[in-house]
Each structure stands twice: as structure tokens, then as C-alpha cells.
């Protein structure tokens, strides 16, 4: 598998640990399905942990945008944790960085939902 996905939950927040590549085809589809599944079960507080992601293509960037919007439309929030520098560059190039809430600490990402 090019993308490995592990799910945890903590304090009513769903943590999705991603590792590998989010690219056109398999990777993007897996991410879409995972978020759809969480929302369908009423889990609308989502942290995507990108620590293990080495590679995202334009399809993957589009997927992050779409998952962010789908979650918002479901009345929830999707935030990013451990954004690797190269993916940060990609978001910046396409003026998307300000769209996302980005955290460097898991505790901070979780705390953002307790406000």
C-alpha cells in the first residue's frame, strides 16, 4: 500500500495517522473514504497527522482541501498535525496554507477542540 492509515481517538477527537504517499489513485481514495467513514459515524472532530507522509501530489493536495470542506459542511473541523516542510511548501505555493489550522503538538491539536 502506498498510504497507511491508522485511526485512534482521544477526548472525543478522531486522530488519523497517515504514512506514505497521498497521490492520484489509491492514496487519495483511501483518505477520502476514511474521512467519509468518520463523518458518517458522527465523528466530526478530526486531526490528520501527516508526520509520516513523505509525498503528496496535486491530487493529494486537492484531497486535503476537499476533506477540509466536507468536514466543515458536516458541521465539524479538520485540522493538520505535523505538517512536513515540503507539504507546507505545496500548500503555500497554491495559497492554501491559511485555509488550514496546523499544529506541531498533538496536545495542542486536541486542545483546539475543547474551546
Amino acid at each position: 500500500m502506498s498510504l497507511e492509515i491508522n485511526q485512534r481517538s482521544s477526548q472525543g477527537v478522531s486522530l488519523v495517522d497517515l504514512a506514505g504517499k497521498i497521490t492520484l489513485g489509491q492514496g487519495s481514495i483511501q483518505l477520502r473514504d476514511t474521512v467519509a467513514h468518520l463523518l458518517a459515524e458522527g465523528n466530526t472532530r478530526i486531526v490528520l497527522n501527516l508526520a509520516g507522509v513523505q509525498y503528496v501530489d496535486s491530487s493529494g493536495i486537492g484531497e486535503l482541501v476537499s476533506r477540509h470542506m466536507t468536514t466543515r459542511h458536516a458541521g465539524g473541523r479538520l485540522v493538520l498535525l505535523h505538517l512536513p516542510p515540503k507539504i507546507r511548501d505545496l500548500l503555500q505555493i497554491t495559497k492554501l496554507l491559511s485555509l488550514f489550522e496546523v499544529y506541531e503538538e498533538e496536545a495542542a491539536a486536541l486542545a483546539s477542540f475543547l474551546g
Partner: protein, 169 residues
Amino acid sequence: MTYAEQVVRLTIDSQLPLIDLATNLADQLTNLAGFDEDCVYWINMAVRESVANAVEHGNKYDSNKQVEITFVLAHELLTIAVRDHGEGFDPASLPDPLDPLNLLNPAGRGILYMRTFMDEVTYLRHPEGGMLVTMAKRRQPLASPAESAETVAPAHPEGGKSIGNVPRD
């Protein structure tokens, strides 16, 4: 390594899992050419985007149509040409992915990334049909003919960011 121009071409069927063959080949050639780690990464991504477009939009996943990826490693320049056998398109007609109205679109950013990571990107309709994307990246000229490719200085010895024009907000 000799200093003659080196030409390498890969031809693949229009299947997504085969795109990795093109990006891995790109990695080997950019390493051989002495590009630094960041450049290797971004050129890889430009190759992925262009070959993915050829498979998806050009050949529309028709496994009987091929994508040809040609690498020309010259003294000062790496040129990568990607050819598909689709209907072609007019790049001038594309929506601008940086337009606020398009920012949230699920797609439409691939060509922008290619233009950002490569020094030059041109789109041509191939006279025999299909699209021909040509991307070029300048390399650090080799120091001396006596040196082997392994000892060539990285393309960006100052270790700075290799992205040409990332907008910093």
C-alpha cells in the same frame, strides 16, 4: 561518466501504478546529474504531475495508448519531455488555480506546480497528435572534465531552497 549528452526514454502503458517507474527513473537521472536533494524531490514531482496528466487527461486511462517520457541530460540542462496520444488541450484556456474563486477546487494545481519547480515548461500539440509537455531545469555545469559524475558539486551548493518562486505570504 562521459560528457556527451545522455538520452533516456521510458514508454509506459496508461496505468497509474506505472507512473512510479517514471519518477524513479527521474530520481536516478537527477542524482546522476548532481542535483541536490530538494531539486531531486521537486523534479520528481514535476514528472509525476506531467505523466499523471498524460495518463488521466491525455490518454484517459486507455491502456492501449502509451506515454513517452524522454530525459535529455546535457551539460547545463536537464530536459524532460512527456508525450501522450490524447486530444490535446489549450493551456491558455485553463482556470487560474490562484484565483480566489478557484482556491477550493479539488483539482487544477498540477501545471502550476510543474511551472514552479521547473525553470521552463512549454505545452505543444504534437504534429502527429497528442500533447507534448517539455520541462527544463538548469543544472550546475560540471566543474572539470577530469571529475567523475559522482564528485560533481550539487546544483545548489549554497543549500538554499530549490523552489524558484514560492509565494511567501
